[in-house]
Amino acid sequence: MEFGLSEDDRLLQDSVVRFLTTEVPLDRVRELAAADTQKAGFDSALWQGLADLGVLGLVVPERFGGSGQGFFLAALVSEALGGVVAPAPYVGTSAATWALLLGGSAAQQEQALPEIVKGKRRYALALAETVAPRQDAALRLQGNTLHGESLCLIDALPATHILAATSDGMLGVVEQGAAGLAMRPMQTIDRTRSWGLMQANGVSWEPLGGDMPRDQLLRRTLAAARVLLAADTLGAAQTMLDKAVAYAKERKQFSRVIASFQAVKHMCAEMVTELEPARSLLWYAAHAQDHVVEEADLMACLAKAHLGDIGREIARSATEVHGGMGFTDLVGLHYWFKRIGMDRQLLGGPELTREEAARLQHFVQ
């Protein structure tokens, strides 16, 4: 029984964190965030670096060029990326990889997975409408082509492909740049990643062709994406807490460091008291995707909702500990604040995912 990181897990985590610390300094984040929205949220050199580290093949079996180490590690990577607000289309690509593994045909897997591992294929997610269709957006099949609209695509513009769900829950893949497809960037608070709106007017579409029933595949894919988003929040929140504690130990007011004021200490204590058990929940939710399939989507819903809520609180408190400095752009804290704010809203905010969790447990119809 080992509930925690193994020696191998730590080695990987350390190497990813070390790599990101060097490759994603705050200046780089700023630079990409200031770029126009066509380019925002994607650093191709960083992506290639992640591929070289083997990070894109963690869930991919060895025969497709991956290391097959499992979803738990993918979540650790997402946490690390959130920790440095990395401009990388990781959530979209990883969730799509997971969908291909569970529900792609052998041919689809053979074609896509080795490319993913190498960093050549990247995926956006067009799934928002399966959770909560807004603005009457929907994607529908007419014959074999896709029509309609999907909002708030995750990792939209850097993607070479889009994993898209029809309004009746079928998953399939569209190629970026396909005839009849229009993708426009959406401008959100989070400029460390890429967001978009897709309009399909008779776009060629390839449904995933594996054996898993449609509903189950959609649920497992959503669950994976939610855990990755929650992990991203965990990493970002941990960094904000670390920064708050470090700032408090440095900053002097009234002739003493503010870390010695009980009010500041207690704010930090409250943050860590929320964060540490939440990490344990996230670990289990990630583990469950691979190993406790019957709990995979329930745990994903609860972890997403919980991290969404405590992430928001920590983002506020950590900003407040920084005083006025936290409100400026000078320390760049707001990139983390906004990233957490973004994760929270995607694929179901806390209230929606909890309601889904209630249905999964038959608490309500």
């Binding site: 928002a128 909560a132 269709p133 807004r134 603005q135 009457d136 909002l151 708030c152 959406m186 401008q187 959100t188 608070i189 989070d190 967001w195 709106l197 002097k252 007011q253 009234f254 002739s255 003493r256 004021f261 009010a263 500041v264 928001r312 506020r316 900003t319 407040e320 005083g323 006025g324 400095m325 936290g326 409100f327 400026t328 752009d329 000078l330 804290l333 707001h334 604040f337 906004k338 704010g341 973004m342 809203q345 995607l346 179901g348 905010g349 806390p350 209230e351 929606l352 909890r354 309601e355």
Partner: protein, 409 residues
Amino acid sequence: MDLTYDERYQAFRQEVQRFITEHRHLAPREIGLERPSEEQKRWQRLLIEHGYAARTIPKEYGGFGAPMDVLEQFIIADEFSTAGVSQGLSGQGIAMLVPTLLELGTEEQKKQYIPPTIRGDMVWCQGYSEPNAGSDLASLRTSARVEGDCFVINGQKIWTSSAHFSDMMFCLVRTEPDAPKHKGISYLLIPMTTPGIEVRPLMTMTGDAIFNEVFFTDVKVPVTNIVGQRGEGWKVANATLIYERGMLGDPNQTTNFYKRVVEVLQRETIAGESIMTRQPQLRERLLRLQGRVLAMRFHGLRLLTHFSRMEMPGVAMLVVKLYGTVLNHELAALAIDAMGELGTLYDKDPMLRDDGIWQRWYMFSLGLIIGGGTSQIQKNIISERGLGMPREPRTPEEIAASTAKQPQS
């Protein structure tokens, strides 16, 4: 309790309403974060002429010269706010400098500065905060030494809103480096065109640069540009700081804000059904906030009554800023949540709702929770002044710092 107004006030309210009806076509749109336009200044002069701005400022300084009456003030604010018509210029010159000069300025200073300030011809910024003196304002380091008949100023200010288009700054500087912390400070008036001043925009998390950093290198102003005595700047500034802290909760604004959140819940949909009916969890949050919004609104009336009776409201007054800023933040958070993914839109996205006010306010209200004394400082003030709880005992270092001269770091 009597929420009716007597005849005199009813008549006054009608007069205000009549003015608004007759003149609203002249009113500029809501005043933004720029230097007043000619149109705005014309509107301001019209308001002063009728006593709806600068109402209690003596005629000799360009005001309307009415005696103080908080109910009249309230009725004016209420009617203009309800009608959505500009109440004229605001800004730190009018809100803070003018009251300070009226109380502590020399006759020359009053005559020179008040008339153009209230007309919007002279724009001011405030130079209090420094990078190393946030909540602990008294530890500021910007220095002014006397050379001949001038102060020579060196140092840095931060959080200086409107510095980039201001004519003047009212500013706290350390003139007596050897005096204890609170006692070495003076209050100076500095023309922003003086050589040696550099203004740099300060970007905030909202992406706007409404604040600045201001750097002083050997900036010279005449020694007559002081308000109050040398070394008494702390007292001069504190009169208006209290004023500023009280001003930060505006029930009318929060009420309007609440109404717009209701609209968001009614307007936004999932699968065609409004959030209001589809998400009872968010409806519950809305109603919870409604209770607080109403509490704040009625609390404002209660304070108004205290003021009109010339009573000090005590702790009831001290809680307003903390209560109001947190409430605004929560309202914005709810609107964002109701919009789901679309709640994250910002900048100029074509699908952006309500000009993006929700995310902007979510962040800006967090800034207000922090600014002008963080919520931690507010709680200190409430517990000490409001509940009579003792200050934290001072450490030996603090005792030393407050009695000895400033560190020369």
